[in-house]
């Protein structure tokens, strides 16, 4: 009996080592059109690499955009976002129940994996070869609709959307001002080397609250810039007091 208990505990401990290390990859398109009312904004290439214990979502990275065909039409929008060498990263560590992020303003943020309360509906549709089910939730000020598939039974998804019984292939908010759409999936894939924790050069992680305060400060800055432009051109502008038109995560009423 003692022997059995020992083996039992030994196996428990080794479970992490012996678990499958096959990784999968999903390519998403991420369209950011905050305040524009429909998905007409900039379309980024994004990547989700995952295995059974963790996932890493990468977006707005220089190397992901390099092979892109240039936009067919020219626009008059000016966006303050752009790509960078490392991009924005979201590392979902299921084992330690922690979400690490290299987020807006290149802030390194660490928080417990947010608990999202999903409402799974009976609506279904097919994306690619996958049968998907629809689920909705309200997360940090926005209402999201996500389509997940049980054929990939892992609680991952784009950005911070996670916690469904299957992988999220498509998600969007009420007006598709934030829109993630599915392009391609490969499992197993040759991207094991990409699935590693975020490299934080200072090793200092800010809390989510500190990050939130940072964003509010940036919103104030943007408002002041708008006032300058209005004075310069001599025509009045409307002040958008709605932070939902600037940031994805919205705090307070929306």
């Amino acid at each position: 009996m003692k022997y059995n208990i020992t083996i039992f505990f030994l196996v428990l401990c080794c479970q992490g080592v012996l678990s499958q290390v096959k990784t999968g990859v999903v390519y998403y398109g991420e369209i950011q059109s905050l305040s524009l009312g429909s998905p007409v904004g900039k379309d980024y290439n994004a990547l989700l690499v995952f295995d059974t214990d963790r996932s890493l979502y990468t977006t707005r990275k220089d190397s992901l955009e390099q092979l892109t065909n240039s936009m067919k039409q020219e626009h008059k929008f000016t966006f303050t976002v752009s790509t960078s060498e490392e991009g924005f990263l979201y590392y979902n560590d299921l084992k330690n129940k922690t979400l690490f992020a290299r987020d807006l303003g290149f802030s390194y943020v660490k928080e417990g994996i947010p608990k999202i309360v999903w409402d799974i509906t009976s609506k279904t549709k097919v994306i690619g070869d996958f049968e998907c089910q629809m689920a909705t939730c309200t997360f940090r000020g926005r209402t999201y609709t996500a389509w997940f598939t049980m054929q990939v039974p892992l609680p991952y998804g784009p950005w911070k959307l996670q916690g469904l019984p299957g992988l999220i292939l498509e998600a969007y908010d009420a007006h598709k001002e934030i829109f993630w759409y599915f392009k391609e999936m490969q499992y197993p894939s040759r991207f094991q080397y990409l699935l590693k924790p975020i490299n934080n050069p200072t090793n200092e992680w800010m809390t989510f609250n500190a990050f939130k305060n940072n964003l509010e400060e940036k919103l104030n800055q943007a408002t002041l810039n708008g006032r300058i432009l209005s004075e310069k051109t001599g025509v009045p502008i409307h002040e958008d007091k709605n932070p939902g038109n600037i940031f994805i995560e919205v705090f307070g009423t929306f």
């Binding site: 499958q20 019984p165 391609e184 310069k232």
Partner: protein, 890 residues
């Protein structure tokens, strides 16, 4: 539905307990206690372990889902020990348990659960080789999204105080409306306003933006790359932007509108009525108003001739304008006319749009208006000319009445994606009556001008798609006539002028027709087009002047001119890299001109080259050069004297020559976001190689002049500004400086005179953003005007200050006031108004009180300096009045 994964650990312990030490009954008791501690009595619990069928090792992170009737009830992921637990409400009895993990075959089983029963199920999954490979889009491809439209959900932007679509537009980010009602979206002026995708008013969009009530709207869309021509839209980037008003569902097929009634002291009145009948295939809008509180009718129809700058201007207007021979409108000042011009206005526009089928579309606007203006002012002129300075003054009373009725019609047909036809026709009839009583030099003079204007223009455009481009064919024609009867009493030109009257009748007409064909291509990012065309015009001016029924020969005559102008034009838009763009237009025209019986031919080249550097490290730059050469209309060349006024006669140029000029320009803008500074500079230099100037004889009583050609007229314009935001003051501020220098050569009293006018000015403007019920905008300007020639030097200085406070007392009451003050020769003048608005919440009506000229100032005075003329004007103001208005929506 709640998922209780935290129960798993507790159950794990209990399982081991059960296996090792404690009896079953005790276990059941503990289990029930644990479960009941955190869940309702009606829940059931399904728990168990998920293990590998081959080696019985637990599988972590398996997805376990509980369904009933294909509805998801609950789910959980197995933990490190492979354990799971799901708690759901006991509504169903029959469930399906699905367990899935990557690399394993899916497990599906049905369960029947009795009330309050807790089920334990251990699941063993068999391995399988799992490969998933699905491609919907390649990782580097993007989905097709129509990016031309931005939509604003109006519910997020309305404050309930908007009375017209224009007021609503001012609230939307990215849309600006200036003081003249010109709308810009995303920095570009808009072409038109559509309603549910249909165009009713064409470029007369102010008729809609200033009159239509916004409560019927659900959203406003900004549509970029707007191209009505479906053939050109397929490959050309139009830079046109339009607004599309989308109606609320209950307004999509019905009658609705708004009415406005106002009454006040001093016999003030105003009335406004909008009626709309909207249907997906048929739209009818009737907008009408009447008032004497300063809102004029003609201004809505003053066609801001919208021209799409840059490469794509294939929807341009070929209308030619005909100038009147006599202007009898009086002088105006630099402030809003409502403060010093008494008006009466009446206007009605009927806008109609109908789709007959998918490929046939008709729209029509029928409008009529009547404006009446009264002006009362004193004016003093001083001419700085050799041999002596001349001064005289007049006291003027003007009454101008304009009546107009017009119709614009357009038909569009596009039978297939590769061809499009547009036919448009418009006519306008105007009847103007201008009366002027003036006193000068102790004499009373009366001038009357009656004009009858008839204009008709038509245009046809056919577009056909080619392999990598399109062919655009345009044909156009028009007829214009103006019959002017000008009476001056007494006739100051005659020797015995006490009882005489001078009657002059001018009959002018313009007929034109022409055609153009253009080939447009796009290869890669470069667009180029080649156009050839021809224009034929025929002008006629006939003047007959009678003094006491005797013909005055020198003031009568007849002139006609015909010309045929073939032309060729090349346009190029060449992007060079990410940020640099080169634009070029080169055109050559040959004008075969026949005037009376003399023929001549002139070569008229035109060019515009510019380079733009966008978003460089030091900002945006644009550098360009423009060369213009053209011929003027016949009224510049008439060879008999035209009577301009009781003291002014003018003669046209004695030969036909091209007017040419060179313009060089430079623009720069730069923003430093961190320091919150925005810089902007522009410099432009224009040199006329050949331009008209007046060669005249001026004395105390008369001004007789003739147009001659000269070179040497020069303009320089410079302005620069810095805009910033001050955090401690909570205000945005702009400081600017502008400078201009104009050199005007002329010949006066047989002496060559070159007059230089220098104007420099400083300005400071600001807007407050206080978080209180009070906010304001202000503006301060100092202008220094200097003019000099060999005779003398004149200097005018003016200081101006504008203050606009807004009090938003609460959500129902607003007080708005505007004070415009200026200092002329140490005297302080003030033009002002105040408005108090009451908008009860959730009601369809609102009330307002408007007061103008609060301190009942009697006159306004201004100084102007232009070339060698210094003018001092003193206007009688519209006396103080107040009126109350009531607005109602239905």
């Amino acid at each position: 539905m709640k998922i209780k994964i935290q129960e798993t650990y507790l159950l794990k312990c209990l399982e081991r307990f059960k296996q090792k030490f404690i009896g079953f009954n005790v276990l059941l008791l503990i289990l029930v206690l644990c479960v009941s501690k955190t869940s309702l009595a009606q829940n059931i619990s399904i728990s168990g372990f998920v293990k590998n069928a081959q080696d019985s090792l637990p599988i972590t992170g398996t997805s376990v889902v509980l369904k009933a009737n294909n509805t998801f009830l609950g789910y959980a992921y197995s933990d490190e020990a492979g354990a799971f637990n799901i708690n759901v409400e006991a509504i169903y009895k029959q469930f399906v348990l699905e367990v899935s993990a990557l690399g394993f075959k899916r497990y599906k089983d049905s369960l029947i659960v009795m009330d309050n029963e807790n089920v334990s199920r251990n699941v063993y999954l068999s391995e399988k080789i799992e490969t998933l490979s699905t491609v919907v889009l390649k990782s580097t491809e993007k989905i097709e999204v129509n990016r031309d439209t931005i939509s604003y959900r109006l519910s997020a932007f309305e404050y309930g105080i908007e009375n017209s679509v224009e007021d609503m537009l001012k609230n939307l980010p990215g849309i600006e409306v200036d003081d003249n009602g010109i709308i810009r979206a995303l920095g570009e002026p808009i072409d038109k306003i559509l309603i549910e995708g249909d165009d009713l008013a064409n470029s007369n969009y102010k008729v809609i933006s200033q009159n239509l009530d916004p409560s019927a709207l659900k959203s406003i869309e900004i549509i970029q790359n707007y191209e009505e021509n479906p053939v050109l839209k397929q490959f050309l980037n139009s830079s046109a932007v339009v607004l599309n008003l989308k109606l609320k569902e209950d307004k999509k097929s019905m009658l609705f509108g708004k009415a406005d009634v106002g009454l006040g002291l001093e016999n003030r009145y105003s009335g406004d009525l909008n009626l709309a009948f909207i249907n997906p295939n048929f739209k009818l809008l009737n907008l009408g108003f009447v008032n004497n509180i300063g809102r004029t009718a003609g201004a809505q129809f003053s066609n801001y001739e919208f021209s799409i700058g840059g490469f794509n201007d294939f929807k341009k207007s070929y209308k030619l304008n005909q100038n009147p021979m006599v202007y009898l409108q009086g002088s105006i000042m630099d402030i809003d006319e409502k403060y010093y011009v008494e008006n009466q206005a009446l206007s009605n526009s009927l806008l109609f749009n109908k789709k007959f089928s998918k490929t046939l579309h008709i729209k029509n606007t029928l409008y009529t208006y009547r404006d009446n203006f009264k002006k009362d002012y004193n004016i003093g002129y001083t001419y700085f000319v050799p041999p002596n300075t001349i001064s005289y003054s007049e006291h003027n009373n003007f009454e101008n009445t304009d009546f107009s009725i017009g119709n614009d019609f357009e038909l569009q047909s596009n039978p297939s994606a590769s061809s499009n036809l547009i036919i448009s026709a418009s006519f306008v009839y105007k009847n103007k009556n201008d009366m002027n009583d003036l006193v000068t030099n102790g004499n009373l003079i009366n001038q009357t001008l009656k004009s009858k204007i008839n204009n008709f223009d038509a245009q046809v455009q056919y577009t056909k798609k080619l392999n990598n481009g399109a062919l655009v064919l345009d044909g156009f024609s028009g007829v214009k006539s103006n019959d002017e009867l000008f009476t001056i009493h007494p006739n100051a030109f005659a020797q015995d002028s006490t009882n005489s009257e001078l009657n002059t009748n001018y009959k002018s007409s313009l007929k034109y027709w022409g055609a153009e064909s253009a080939f447009v291509f796009k290869s890669g990012k470069t667009s180029h087009s080649y156009t050839i065309g021809v224009l034929h015009t025929s002008e006629n001016i006939k003047g007959q002047s009678y003094a006491n029924k005797l013909v005055v020969d020198s003031l009568s005559g007849s002139d006609n001119a015909k010309k045929i102008e073939p032309k060729a034009q090349v346009k190029l838009k060449l992007p060079m890299g990410e940020r640099l763009e080169f634009n070029a237009i080169a055109e050559g025209k040959i004008s075969f001109y026949k005037r009376n019986n003399t023929s001549s031919s002139l070569f008229l080249p035109n060019a515009d080259f510019n380079i733009q550097l966008k978003e460089g490290k030091t900002g945006n730059y644009r550098v360009g050069w423009e060369y213009v050469s053209k011929l003027e209309t016949l009224d510049y060349y008439v060879d008999f004297f035209i009577v301009n006024s009781y003291r002014s006669l003018s003669l046209g140029a004695n030969r036909v020559e091209a007017i040419t000029n060179n313009r060089y320009y430079f623009r720069h803008s730069f923003s430093d976001v961190k320091k919150r500074l925005f810089f902007s500079t522009s410099l432009s230099y224009k040199h006329f190689n050949s331009q008209f100037v007046q060669e005249g004889l001026l004395n105390q009583d008369f001004n007789i002049s003739r147009s001659v050609y000269t070179s040497g007229q020069n303009f320089i314009f410079f302005n620069t500004s810095v805009t910033t935001y001050s955090k401690p003051l909570n205000m945005s501020l702009k400081v600017g400086y502008n400078y201009s220098r104009v050199i005007n050569p002329s010949v006066v009293n047989n002496t060559f005179l070159e007059t230089v006018n220098n104007t420099s000015g400083f300005g400071l403007t600001g807007t407050s953003y206080f978080r209180s019920f009070f906010n304001f905008k202000f503006q301060m300007n100092y202008t220094d005007n200097k003019g000099w020639n060999t005779e003398t030097e004149v200097r005018n200085r003016r200081f101006q200050f504008m203050f606009n406070p807004i009090f938003k007392i609460n959500s129902e009451w607003i007080i708005n006031a505007k004070f415009k003050n200026y200092l002329v020769d140490s005297i302080f003048y003030d033009a002002n108004y105040m408005e108090i608005i009451y908008e009860p919440e959730l009601k369809k009506w609102s009330l307002g009180l408007y007061v103008q000229n609060i301190f009942n100032k009697e006159t306004f005075e201004f100084n102007y300096l232009n070339n060698y003329t210094n003018t001092n004007i003193s206007y009688k103001t519209v006396p103080r009045y107040a009126y109350v208005y009531w607005r109602f929506k239905f």
